[in-house]
Symmetry: C2
Subunit: 308 residues, 2 copies
């Protein structure tokens, strides 16, 4: 690989963390560890396994998108999504909207037209409460020390990017890239998890705690983010044949074990995660010479790996 290519590789990979700068024998100080080095060296206990009962497989013609659900944040919506997945609701439905620097959205494009709407599977509830926030009581919140313009505190809960207001005791998921939310009408309690969107651009944090967020994409995001964009203003395809087909959405636990995608995620309370985040927050290496001293919630990498 050429020097430019290698350096441009450095461009995205090598965040570092400081290690002691003075070696006992006066030799050159050891190189700072990069975020990737820290992640690679993390002990087994720093990783948690994705729970198949809490995982969706969205099969597109181009491959599988793996989604971790967030029942702690949206228990009723997640239960309803599981019921719909078990009933094959999205099988044969479509991605009917793709708006650049905003969202892709999928479900039943005819969902509100009597006579055309696909029937919901048995067990689907057709009305749910809004689940915009949850109580922070008893919830482990792995807080980031960094300032955030949108919320008093930011960090991670249940492995999800989240924000918290200690004054109200409320916690909610942040609309970071890759997060999955439930489309609704104007009424706060008008989503049921049948229409879903995924963030494909700059985090629209103004949506935080105003929609029910239900999970995040942990693998296969690159299959969604390239969905051809629909026309302005909103990215809804004008012609039905433009819609991108969904082969199926299934719960991983309903898929034969041999066909699953076993993944592990770095625990957000692990020392490796804390250290890797710091390595990115204050990245110094051959390419980056000025540590930023800050990281935004939605810039924090949430590492995923195939289960060993």
């Amino acid at each position: 690989m050429t020097a430019m290519r290698h350096a441009l590789l450095a461009f995205a990979v090598a965040a570092t963390i400081a290690v002691p700068a003075i070696a006992a024998d006066g030799a050159q100080p050891p190189k700072r560890k990069s975020a990737q080095e820290i992640i690679d060296a993390a002990p087994a206990s720093a990783w948690r396994s994705l729970d198949p009962a809490n995982t969706l497989y969205m099969e597109l013609p181009s491959g599988r998108v793996v989604i971790e659900l967030a029942p702690g944040f949206a228990p009723e919506h997640v239960a309803n999504i599981k019921a719909m997945a078990k009933g094959g609701f999205w099988d044969g439905l479509t991605i009917y909207r793709s708006q650049d620097n905003f969202v892709v959205q999928f479900g039943d494009p005819d969902g509100e037209e009597a006579g055309k709407a696909k029937p919901y599977p048995a067990g689907t509830r057709t009305h749910l409460p809004a689940e915009f926030t949850r109580s922070d009581k008893g919830v482990r919140f792995d807080r980031l020390p960094d300032v955030d313009g949108w919320a008093p505190q930011v960090g991670f809960a249940d492995g999800m990017p989240a924000a918290r207001d200690p004054k109200t005791g409320k916690l909610w998921m942040a609309h970071c890239y890759g997060v999955l939310g439930a489309g609704r009408n104007s009424a706060p309690d008008s989503s049921i998890g049948a229409e879903l969107y995924v963030v494909i651009g700059q985090a629209p944090r103004a949506l935080d705690h105003q929609l029910t967020v239900v999970g995040r994409v942990v693998k296969g995001m690159e299959l969604l983010s390239v969905t051809p964009r629909g026309p302005a203003p909103m990215g809804f395809y004008e012609k039905p044949e433009q819609r991108a087909p969904i082969v199926s959405i299934k719960l991983a636990s309903e898929v034969p074990e041999a066909q699953r995608t076993p993944l592990q995620l770095l625990r957000t309370d692990s020392q490796a995660f804390i250290d890797a985040t710091e390595a990115r927050r204050n990245r110094v290496d051959d390419f980056y010479t000025q540590p930023a001293g800050h990281i935004d919630l939605c810039n924090v990498s949430l590492p995923v790996r195939p289960a060993p």
Copy 2:
């Protein structure tokens, strides 16, 4: 259009600004103006025309990407890019890297291999100084009041998203979605504007003032953002045939007038821009009931329209 679809339209469009709430005759207060309404009502003087001498047309098989260059921020790189465009340097070259939630990158994938590298056009300088920041003296900085974790001040200069440190008197472009920068090696002065990248995900602000930023995409971003992603870790395509072809990159002023794309951009010092940004900062309508009270630099919309 169905109710859900209409509401989901509201999901992305209708940011509002407060207007006086008491009507003289006791009638219901007028509806708040949305950001789009404010933009639509802006006077002609609130718009500036894109300068063809400062605009690149990147022709892809799928259509034209229009890029406004930022000579105020990177005069030497921009001059060099213009020389290369005039010489047809990128014609027939490729997008050779596409990394999800990060960048697409293009130029000569063989650029550092003697014997394979495409010769630079006459007038191309093969060494330039780093242009990571500029002096803020005499530069109109349209400041946002919002806090930013990466810089003491954020706002707009020359219509570009930017950040500023009043202590050092430095100003630099921010790596927002759609911004165009110059790829380099480890040496700060190793970019010449031949290898270029565009941000296609969550703004990687940690790159600010560490690379030379040269402009931003004002139209056609949706053509770049769907570029199929290359493999981990960096998104460089492994096989040459995977690279996405660039038909040409030309200066708009070198293109016959009848073939140009005349655009106007809303001035960032206009009342309409200030009001539209406030309408998004504190959006309240049928769908959004909780004004955020904050907007991030890279969430601020920079409106573009066809020249009337």
